[in-house]
């Protein structure tokens, strides 16, 4: 894990540069993208060098991947909003959020190299997570497109659930690492399924249910799905008991049925997924425009700037992948998915190499959330599954999402530094051993 990865980093920046150069050509855009592109490239390159310096043994591919994905996102956001009344500043705002995310990551890397301290405050994190989600119910919270996801803090508006996810994963990792043996050793069984001891399972279930319940009432389906699945996967990883997964599956089916029956907006979403043609100008409009745009791209894409992805409502946030598939084609979209998969692969590898259970579970939880989020939103916009409004990590426009994912990456880097250093020390030890003999 200690190889240098300056070449991937430079390649990622070149891809972004190429994207902006094409847009300047195609959309006859003036110099602003160049200046912001330069700021962006400088920020991430400095971040990369800083991380190399502070965490020399950390995973080398994560930051080039982040650079590639944020770069592609920035190019697409610029392309989709340039000269469009009302949203023409989104690309510069996104560049600012990337700067803030980079700063947050740098602070994390600088001050939390001993990240194990975080697990000491796991109950605080649990509380903070639930509190963040609940904060949208305070007068500061407000609704956008029917979902109550936002909190207005004067100068900034943010989506607390983006940060709550990370906090809750820290809690689950710390708690499960501590209690995993006790949770794995079950005492009773019900209908052939072994039931864990309520005493140990209780806190997990409580936090889980609280966060889930709140999100469902906020009508944040995407986050609900993630909050449901990620702790379940972590539980499975910690205990290896398939019973949890089965139990989760049953709960999921029940929960889905109940929410489907209770909430109109869930029924609308499912209806739009099953048969968008029923109301092609209404509820089916967004997903149909997405499908039309994806199909329009074909194998090689229409070319950057030549597609019609602006016909999709919310294209720069939830539907940014449709725009990528439209203008870069099947090949480009697959390449972007591969970048996500490599990120997930590196995350899994860090989890495998991490020395203690809490670190493993933390990295695994974060990686699983990242993977699921990508699968759920891309699956949604390609009509593979019903649509749930969540962002595509690093690519979609959205400050909370970008900053949250930079923090997520920072945590992965911290864990990988420790594992990497151990590996390096082991190698050094072996070498000296070999010389001595």
């Amino acid at each position: 894990m200690t190889q240098r990865a300056t070449t991937p980093m430079i390649l990622a920046l070149l891809v972004t540069t190429l994207g902006f150069a094409t847009l300047i050509f195609v959309q006859e855009a003036a110099s602003p993208p160049l200046i912001y592109g330069a700021y962006y490239a400088g920020t991430l390159f400095v971040l990369y060098l800083g991380v190399r310096l502070l965490l020399p043994h950390s995973d080398v591919l994560l930051l080039p991947l982040v650079t590639l994905l944020t770069g592609i996102g920035l190019v697409m956001i610029f392309r989709l909003t340039y000269n469009v009344e009302g949203v023409q500043n989104l690309a510069t705002t996104q560049a600012l959020w990337i700067l803030i995310g980079s700063g947050a990551m740098f602070i994390l890397v600088l001050f939390f190299r001993n990240y194990h301290r975080l697990f000491d405050y796991k109950y605080l994190f649990a509380f903070a997570g639930v509190f963040l989600i609940a904060s949208t119910f305070t007068p500061l919270g407000y609704e956008v497109n029917g979902a109550r996801l936002w909190v207005d803090l004067g100068p900034v508006n943010f989506q607390p659930s983006e940060f709550a996810r990370i906090a809750l994963i820290v809690f689950f990792a710390g708690y499960l690492a501590e209690k995993r043996d006790l949770l794995a050793a079950t005492s009773r069984s019900f209908l052939g399924i072994q039931i864990p001891a309520i005493k140990y399972f209780g806190p997990v279930a409580l936090v889980w249910a609280a966060s889930l319940g709140l999100l469902v009432f906020e009508k944040d389906l995407g986050s609900s799905l993630l909050f449901f699945a990620v702790p379940l996967l972590m539980l499975y990883a910690a205990t290896g008991r398939i019973a949890y997964v089965l139990l989760g599956g049953i709960l999921f089916s029940l929960g889905s049925l109940v929410t489907f029956l209770l909430f109109d907006h869930v029924q609308v979403r499912v209806q739009a997924w099953l048969d968008p043609w029923q109301d092609p100008d209404g509820t089916g409009f967004q997903i149909l425009q997405s499908i039309f745009n994806i199909a329009d791209g074909g194998l090689l894409g229409t070319g950057l700037g030549a597609g019609f992805a602006q016909t999709i409502p919310e294209v720069e946030t939830d539907f940014v992948f449709s725009a990528i598939a439209s203008e870069l084609g099947l090949l480009g979209a697959t390449a972007v998915l591969l970048a996500f998969l490599i990120f997930v692969y590196r995350g899994t590898k860090i989890a495998l190499l991490a020395e203690d259970d809490a670190s493993k579970l933390l990295v695994y939880g974060l990686t699983a959330m990242f993977a699921l989020q990508t699968l759920v939103i891309v699956g949604g916009v390609t009509k593979a599954i019903p649509l749930t409004g969540i962002t595509l990590p690093f690519v979609s426009y959205g400050g909370s999402s970008v900053v949250g994912n930079f923090i997520l990456t920072g945590l992965l880097l911290l864990v990988s530094e420790k594992a990497g250093r151990r590996e390096a020390e082991g190698r050094a030890y072996q070498e000296s051993d070999w010389r001595a003999s």
Partner: protein
Amino acid sequence: MNAHLRRTFYLFVAGFVGLVVMLAYWQVYQREALANNPQNGFQTQRSISSPRGLILARDGETVLAQSEKRRGISGPIYERSYPGGAAFTGVVGYWSTKYGATGIEIGRNSDLSSVAGDPETVDDLINRATGGPQPGNNVILTLDPELQQLAYEALSETVTARGSAMAIDPKTGEILALATYPSFDANNIDENLPELSQRSDAPLINRATQSLYPPGSTFKVITSAAALKAGVQPSDTFFDPGYLDTPGYRVTNYQNRDFGTVTFAAALAFSINVIFAKIAINEVGAQLLYETATDFGFGDPYDDFPLLVAGSDLGYPVEEWVEGNTAQISFGQDRVFSNVFEMGLVAATIANDGTMMEPRIVKSVRSPDGIILDQPAPSVRRRVLDPATANTLNAMMQNVIVTGQLTEAEIPGVKVAGKTGTAEAPPREPHSWFISFAPADDPKIAVAVMVENGGEIGPQGDAATPAIPIAQDLMETYLKNEGG
């Protein structure tokens, strides 16, 4: 714990593979079907998101159609505008995302449209490689803008305000004017088309090319050509008793006159039906008349011509002609049908020593930066008459103006050749025709004009011939401009 992590990682991998499969399903398997879905407006949107080429008149400056940039919801869109107005619509046509396209707009769409064909210049290649809006190529027409406008306005001032006119350079086949009236302004076609299609005077029809009318006596130049080929001399005399009986049909002259003994040349000058019927039956015969008319283009398709041309027609296959048919066909009635486009070609062929040039309406195609991509050279369509026969016919047609005292057709200092026609179109007034060319000794322009039901019968029983002054005006104007 690591085994569990690996297992779920494989699950994620499977998920990503599934997404790629889903993408491939849309982008490869379902692509065609979705592109053609009626809910999908991208094909239309693509056609308006890059500028089409210009359509220009023969001077290369007068813009007849252009794409104007406007801000759309998703980036710039281009709207077609037609600065030339209604006078040019018959040729230029319209380009509508709602109602399709007509005229040169569709006939030369592959040049005008920005996405067709292989890149032709380096600029084009760079443009396409970068995915930028690729302007289409410019199409320069052979139309003389002044002549076209003149023809259109002259037609508008006729009695019935319905008609068509065509002017052509007989030596090159370049069409100088091709006008139809009534026409319409192609600007805002999306709003106006429903109403235009309802109008009883059918402004959407290009009368110059798409409609067919009996050519009447203008057809006599073809019968004359056949007679000359059959050995009849202009000085040969024939007797006209005022009628000719064929089985089942009696030929009479215009206004039921009888001319007695006249020469063949005079028979053309005074347009004597009885003598032409006699010559067609006795001297020429159905077969030669049929062949000559066919050589002059009757029944020809014009598939390579960018505008839709309704093929002229003799009515029956020659095997079925009986004497009554031959008699009526000889003066352009029965079921003979043509239009100014094709009759103009007949005049041009006689003017050009019997050689019919390929009619052309596109002078050149240029890339947006002016590089010539296509500039067809004049080409011979068919050698219809030998030069001697053509020159004899030319002289006879000059005689039509002089002996027939068609003073309206005269141009000071210029010899004019021509032939009128008053084609019966019962129950309405006859169509007024005139085909001509000038200068007869060195033809520079050939013209065919037809005013629909314009041959109004006056109190003395003679018909008005509104087609003549229009043709004269076109020729005189053109010659004056050409002469410097």
